[in-house]
């Protein structure tokens, strides 16, 4: 009896000590596929990070219920990057140094992705992001950095095409002073010129300014037909409000993540009427999307959006790669399989249930994802489709879908 109690005490103390040393560290070092989820749970990207985090969890559960990846359960370690590069770097350090993750996924802000990338590269683990800065394409990452989102260079073409089709001949740019905004500001003017448009003004604004009145008046001095906004929801509300209260004309156009429900609530449905929204369109026809949507709706009573789709794709690609590498979780092994499982040729798959038996049988698969076809080019980029929406009565109404192939992206 005494022995048992002593043993019990000892185990309890050891367990407590382990807990104090940082959660399930001891457990974590056993055979598992450790995934570092580094995503904005607070800050400007909070809505998207939360969606992605939820999706990772749902998919990990599904795969674990089916027996895990080559017998290894997926273990998620989540850090909030706070939409801030500094916090992102500290979170990445913890994920890499303490939790020893095999891959990092979920960074949304380009600034965060670019700050974290050198850490992933140095640790030789793959990193999947949803950031849009053009710099990411050419970043020296030894093929460890991948993204499932569009680059600003590409969406600029969509903006230009959309503006042209809506009859807008002149445009002004109001862009945030950060990698994504600057990226848009660099790419859009050329694209717009190619379809015969003219830029009447370009203003780069800093966040946290007390007033943007003069910036707005400057940008709109040339009375543009359309105002292209390259910022996030919080500053979007502020900028839009000041524009509205100046009584200046023009139609607004911008990305989905700036003009989301929070934005519409912030300025009121009436003021938001007619705003043109462009966002990545999920790969609606794929089994991957259908599965992601099913999982998401069951748990959160909401459709799976573009970001949920991308998160699903990150984890699927990594899991399939590890399975194809016969359980080898080293970064180089995963890296070696990413394109093999996602790019053609091969049998088209979209869910774990579809793909796992084929891979185990040694067959070549082509993962078609929930957010896009997930065919990674030599830079680690993919080609996504786009949805053009207009805000009607406080909601996004789909105007049309622009397929990547239709864009003249040369």
């Amino acid at each position: 009896m005494k022995l048992d109690r002593r043993q019990f005490l000892a185990t309890g103390l050891a367990g407590g000590a382990t807990a104090l040393l940082g959660g399930g560290l001891a457990r974590a070092q056993a055979e598992a596929l450790r995934i570092g989820v580094l995503t904005p749970l607070t800050g400007g990207g909070a809505v998207y990070g939360t969606t992605m985090s939820r999706t990772y969890t749902l998919l990990a559960d599904e795969i674990n219920k089916a027996g895990g990846v080559a017998g290894k359960p997926i273990q998620l370690f989540t850090e909030d990057d706070q939409t801030n590069p500094d916090a992102g770097v500290r979170g990445a350090r913890k994920l890499v140094d303490v939790n020893r993750v095999h891959a990092i996924m979920g960074t949304w802000s380009s600034a965060v992705t670019l700050a974290v990338a050198p850490i992933a590269v140095q640790a030789r683990i793959p990193q999947f992001c949803v950031s849009s800065s053009p710099v990411i394409s050419t970043f020296k990452d030894d093929d460890f950095l991948y993204r499932t989102a569009y680059s600003q260079a590409v969406i600029s073409a969509v903006y230009a095409t959309t503006a042209q089709s809506l009859g807008f001949k002149t445009a002004a740019l109001l862009i945030l002073n950060n990698p994504y905004g600057i990226g848009l500001g660099d790419s859009f003017p050329d694209r717009f010129a190619k379809v015969g448009g003219k830029i009447t003004g370009k203003v780069i604004y800093n966040p946290n300014q007390s007033s943007y009145r003069s910036e707005i008046q400057q940008a709109l001095a040339g009375k543009p037909d359309v105002i292209l906004f390259g910022g996030y929801t919080p500053d979007g509300i502020q900028v839009f409000k000041e524009w509205f209260q100046l009584g200046l004309g023009g139609t607004w156009m911008g990305p989905g993540f700036a003009f989301d429900q929070k934005f519409i609530q912030g300025i009121g449905a009436q003021a938001a009427e007619g705003i043109v929204v462009v966002e990545g369109a999920p790969n609606l026809g794929s089994t991957a999307y259908k599965n992601a949507d099913k999982l998401f709706r069951a748990a959160h009573n909401q459709d799976a959006d573009f970001f949920a789709g991308m998160a699903y794709d990150h984890l699927m690609v990594v899991s399939l790669s590890v399975l194809a590498a016969k359980g080898d979780t080293s970064g180089d092994a995963i890296k070696g399989q990413i394109r093999k499982v996602s790019n053609p040729p091969g049998k088209v798959v979209g869910t774990w249930a579809e793909a796992a038996p084929l891979i185990r049988a040694g067959e070549k698969v082509n993962y078609e994802g929930a957010s896009s076809s997930c065919d990674f080019d030599e830079n680690g980029d993919v080609q996504t489709d786009f949805g053009v929406y207009r805000i009607k009565s406080g909601k996004w109404a789909l105007d049309r879908v622009i397929k990547f192939g239709d864009l003249k992206t040369s």
Partner: protein, 301 residues
Amino acid sequence: MTEYLIALATIVGIQVLLTLGLNCQYGITGLVNFGHVAFYALGAYASALLTLAGVPFLVAMAVGVVVAVLASLLLGTATLRLGEDYFAILTLGFSEFVRLFLLNARELTRGALGIPGIPRPWRGLGGVPDHIMYLGLVLIAVGVAFALCEVLARSPLGRTLRAIRDDDQAAMALGKDVLRFRLTSLGWGAGLAAVAGSLWAHYVTYVVPDQFTPEITFYIWMAMIIGGPGSTRGALWGTALLVAVLEGTRFAKDVMPMIDEPRLAALRQVAIGLGLIVMTVYVRKLGGRSRPRVAPATVSG
């Protein structure tokens, strides 16, 4: 876990350099520098830009020190004779000015894009793992800085600085060029901060203006006050204690997942604020003035 402790120790080391610098400026000389992060930023950016242009690491760091010291001399000459409160506000404004400059001088600093891919010096030397090598580098820097600061504190220069801190009128009466001594102290602190900045830049391999906000300055103030202003040793363990407590709360999250990170971060900052107040009032080692200040303008209406 060792990896994490090594990372933690490296960060503590870098921040100790910042605290040593501030300690010289305020602890020993009584200068209320609220713009310390500016010198940190200048050192970081100078070092990053130069090494990426092919300049050897130590040379780049040295240039960063020169830039920071020159900036401090400029700042000091313009503002030191204006009285404590004004000096404090102006140094705060100065650090924001530097940050704005770094943010908007795109051609030079890449502005909001930041500078990624900053190289680590002497990587792979002797087969030593990179992070241990870097920790070694930081420890050497801290050791040298510590020694220099101790020497300064015990030297005639240090005595003069403390005399100026305690009663600058008396020091002036004794014929000391108070401004020159204060500038020396300011420059010394700026130089140390620049070294810290350079080490920071090459450690995280990415710098962006957002990293250099006044929050950092007051974080270091807290570290200095915990250890006791004026004490070189205090700068060391005050910083270590502060970082240990704050970083330790990261792990609280793993054990208590119901506290979310930003709320935790907010609590940390509240704790820093409370700590600043409590320690400032009750830690008696403060070299404060006991004689009344000169009156500012009268209230008119």
